[in-house]
Structures are given as structure tokens and as C-alpha cells.
Symmetry: C2
Subunit: 196 residues, 2 copies
Amino acid sequence: MTEPTRIPPRSGAAFILKRGELLTIIDPEGEQVADLASFSLEDPNEAISNGRTIDYASKLYFTTGDEIYSNRSNVMWTIMRDDVGTHDFLLTPCSAEMFRKLYGEEEPHRGCFGNLAAALAPHGVSPDAIPVAFNVFMNVPVDGKTGRISVDPPKSKPGDRFTLRAEMDLIIGLTACSAGQSNNFRYKPIDYLIHS
Amino acid sequence: MTEPTRIPPRSGAAFILKRGELLTIIDPEGEQVADLASFSLEDPNEAISNGRTIDYASKLYFTTGDEIYSNRSNVMWTIMRDDVGTHDFLLTPCSAEMFRKLYGEEEPHRGCFGNLAAALAPHGVSPDAIPVAFNVFMNVPVDGKTGRISVDPPKSKPGDRFTLRAEMDLIIGLTACSAGQSNNFRYKPIDYLIHS
């Protein structure tokens, strides 16, 4: 099998995936998050949608066998392998505004949001069009009674994998998460493989 | 006070609200939901964002005193009064695709999504740009352990009110919900008032 491509810590990448191809996201060191955004190659106004996906599955958590929908109610992804079982599909990518608001940082990093915006711009995706991403390996416990959420260290161990099959031709944005809360304050890379 | 404007059952409306104005949404008969979508009047690419709002508040449920954010991290709304305390900010507006997928309806209603799309089109908002709405009075219990969600009858009683203050000039889309699951299968109107 080909060597995986590495996304360095606190950065992002964009690339094309054709229908039927597999994307495997690997956490090489453990306890790291990858934000996954996706858009139809044919018309980037069709984007990954947590609202449609949660509605159609009547659940917040997704794993092997589950489908991820677009805002036009088409299946974008099928999850094929999940070594971890804990991911988030509620929160927007971390951003300069988020680091400023939640953590009072005065010179904040541009975050996954800024990294996705920069990587996706050449593909015709504007920052405003970046939706809630599927946050692979992100651990966001929810208290159903109070509605409180928290961001805990991921449960992923070194080498853990998450594989999805593209159900349409896609533009992908993928990051090695920039938020300390998401990786136990040890900013780390993410690896990925495109395969059949 | 002026008489409220009525949104008939299974329909929607769009209108402008200026910064500082109040929007009161009234459930005249009880057990009905209103989907609230909003966009900056200055640039409709700035839209209400559940992902940003949930992230900044670290919670899923919102009530009096809480702020609702846009996808550009600006405050769009402050909640001023809430007679009910149970609303949803997870699910996309009901749609023909949803009625088909979840309930097997062969000739489905266009739903809140279709109603919002029609009402918002003259304001320059495309269907693809309609995000997860703030679903006033919608009752969506969440099981934090399993991630399962359900759609239960609203807790609103006849005359219950929900008031928000516009924190910027806004284009509003508002519906009387078309999904039977959201109103105990008794499709009903929604009333609203714009006031100071």
C-alpha cells in the first residue's frame, strides 16, 4: 500500500476524491483530531450536513455502516472502518474567533477553520460556506439532561484508523486539529491515504 | 400592542428585522413548532450557525439570556423571554426528502425547508444556503450516552411566547412547522409580532 500523506500539526489540506474511492484517516501518535469537510465536486454548494445526517439517523454519534448526508439529502460518505468509535458532528472547526472567545487568546492561531478556508479557496469554496465538519476522533461528551457539552481528549491510540467511502465525487478539506482541548495540548500530525 | 401576524399551518414567511427590534413568536394553540432561520441583511452569506452557538456556549439548549451566533462569529440574537424552555438547534427543517426517507411518504409536503426556500428566495437566499434553523418550541430529547435523539410533542401551551432581540439587521425566515412529529399530528398556525 502507498505511504500515507502527512498533514503537519495545526495545518490543513484539500484534495479531490472520486466516487467509490476510500479515504483512510490515521492518527499516527494518538489523541489527535482531524476535521473533515466535504463538498460535491460537481457543485460545491452541496456540502456535508450534520443537520440532515443527525435527522435521518436519529442519532448524534456515527460509526461503521453509517451514512453521512449532504445539505441536498444525498449520501456523501459511508463509514467503512472505525477503530475508535468516538467522533463529533456538532461543533464548528476551531477558529481565531473561538480561541479568542473561549480561551482569551490575544494573538490566536487561525485554527482548523482558517486552515480549511486557505486549503479550500483554490477549489472555489468560500469561508462562509464551510459548515460543521465531521470531526474524526473528537471526543465531545453530551449531557442529554442539561445539554452541557465538553471537549475531552480523543480516545484514539497511535495508528488508529477511520475509513470512509466517497459516494460522489468530492472536494475534501482535512486538518490536523489546532485546538489544544482536542488533543490534550499536544499538537500532532494527521495522516491520510486515498485508496480503492 | 399591534395584533400578531399569523403564519397559517404548514407554511412560512420571510421579513426584515432591524437591529434592536424584538421578535416575539407565539404558539396560539399550543404544541406547535416554528423554525427560525436568519441572515444578515447586509450580506446574506452570514447566517445563523448552530455549530458556532453550541461551541461558544458549550451547551445544546438555549433560553433567556443566551446569545445566538452567526457563521462569522457575530451575535445575531439575544433571547429575551422564554415561556417554554425547550427548543431544538440540531435538526434541519423538515423537507420533502425527510418525509420520504423517515416516513415513507410518496407525495410528501415540501415541509419547512420548502416553505423557507420559497419565502427567502425574493431576499436572495438560495435553498443550499438554508442552515440548521433554531427550532422554537421543538422538543428533541437527547440520550447523551447512546446519542439517540427523538422528536416529541412540544411542551408549549396555548399563548406561550418566545422573544428574541435582533443584534444586527436581519432577513428572517419563520415557519409554522409542517411535520406531524413536531406538533402531535395537529398542524397548527404560528403567530409573530415585531415590536420594540
